[in-house]
Symmetry: C2
């Protein structure tokens, strides 16, 4: 390989930096060449069907996770909008409620309780649902980078193997070159197999975790809504009763809008 020569042309730190760059360049040149040969059918690409399945699952899992994350985020935002409009409506009722109207003393208590309930709901939705999904989807970035690295190591492995095979089947065999190529092949094989084994163990576990993630998330949403609906129902009854007091005070007849009930 040419990196040794390039590296020694420039001395000191700059030389070391340039050496690393040259090495990287050489690596990607070798990989590109190997991919071209594989595409042309000149060399064989190593296939790991079990890994391919894991990788396809990972892609699906990530797509589903991101979609779900977007949905819970939108759901959370909708809850905030609902809170805001609900609060504004109560505030208007408070502002137009006249001091001598019955039930005015209940209104402030109801409004404060409503606000607390909404805040609690929002906060827990954020903690138990939005952040859960955020952390779940955040894992994929790192895993996908390692899958990409495995891909590069696989190309190196194939490349060194084909290089070795070429040298072994050469008419004029050069044992020193063959030995060096064998060494490089063994090293590339070890690196690839290590990362491949790691991912083949990790990916199914990660894939399986989607079920517990979905279960946890939807059970959390369900629990939070349950508490919210129950407590809101009580405040809702309080509003009804407050309006009943006002109605009794003024003994008003049911409100009829002209032209609708005639």
């Amino acid at each position: 390989m040419a990196d040794g020569k390039l590296g020694t042309n420039i001395g000191g730190n700059i030389g070391a930096g340039a050496g690393i760059l040259a090495k990287r360049f050489q690596k990607s040149m070798n990989r590109a060449q190997e991919k071209v040969l594989q595409k042309l059918g000149k060399t064989m690409e190593t296939k790991d069907e079990q890994f391919e399945e894991c990788s396809a699952n990972l892609n699906k899992q990530q797509t589903d996770g991101i979609r779900l994350y977007k949905d819970v985020k939108a759901y959370y935002n909708a809850v905030k909008v609902m809170h805001e409009s609900s609060k504004r409506l109560s505030q208007t009722l408070k502002d137009i409620y006249e001091p001598d109207w019955h039930g005015v003393e209940d209104l402030t208590v109801i409004m404060e309780s409503e606000d607390l309930l909404w805040n609690d709901y929002e906060e827990k939705l954020n903690d138990q649902v939005v952040r859960t999904m955020e952390n779940y989807t955040a894992q994929f970035q790192d895993v996908k980078e390692r899958v990409a690295k495995r891909g590069r190591k696989l190309v190196d492995y194939d490349s060194t193997r084909h290089h070795l095979e070429a040298l072994q089947s050469a008419k004029k065999r050069d044992d020193a070159k063959v030995n060096k190529a064998e060494e490089e092949f063994n090293k590339a094989q070890e690196v690839f197999e290590d990362i491949n084994k790691e991912l083949r163990e990790e990916l199914p576990v990660l894939y399986q975790s989607r079920i517990s993630c979905y279960v946890t998330m939807f059970q959390n949403i369900s629990n939070l809504r349950d508490v919210f609906y129950k407590e809101m129902s009580m405040l809702n009854h309080n509003i009804y009763n407050m309006m009943k007091k006002l109605e009794d005070q003024h003994s008003t007849k049911p409100f009829i809008v002209k032209g609708l009930n005639s």
Copy 2:
């Protein structure tokens, strides 16, 4: 008044149209002149304190009504957004739910019921709350126009009265002119008093109706929410149970996000 002369200068339909225009112009000239004299303190403006109070109440009532209408409209829109985001979340769950996962048969039923419940809630909110407020606030336009008309008739009344007083106290009294002015004054008084009486009767009734409007509206909101929370709670439990089935099938452990529970 000069309108008769102006009117006869032009014949036919055009003349009639021009006559009406000229009459209107003369009327507004007379009113403007009267307002200027009142402002300068040269003449007295008739004040009806009871009516002034009714009118102030009407303005407040309209402002409050419009504010409440905007709020319920925003509330209704927020409910629609909440429905949409809730539906999307359920749809995603349905799409990512695998065919061999337990509980899949419940999901479609839950989703359809959820959608029906949201639609029912939205429709009734629109009918019983948004449209109620819409019809309530729509009344004010007509009433405000009649209050403005009363204002113009009041100026006419004052103007004819001052005109009559001026003629009566003139050094050289012209009985024919005084009689005509008296006739005009009596007519203006009758017109003004009719509309004033009408409004003094109607405005307090309209003002009182705000209470029954608020009572009806907030009781409707409360009732609709009550039904919605109760029925949604049941569907919510169904989702929880469905997730329980899935959990049991895969006997998954609680979902732990890395770095949060360590």
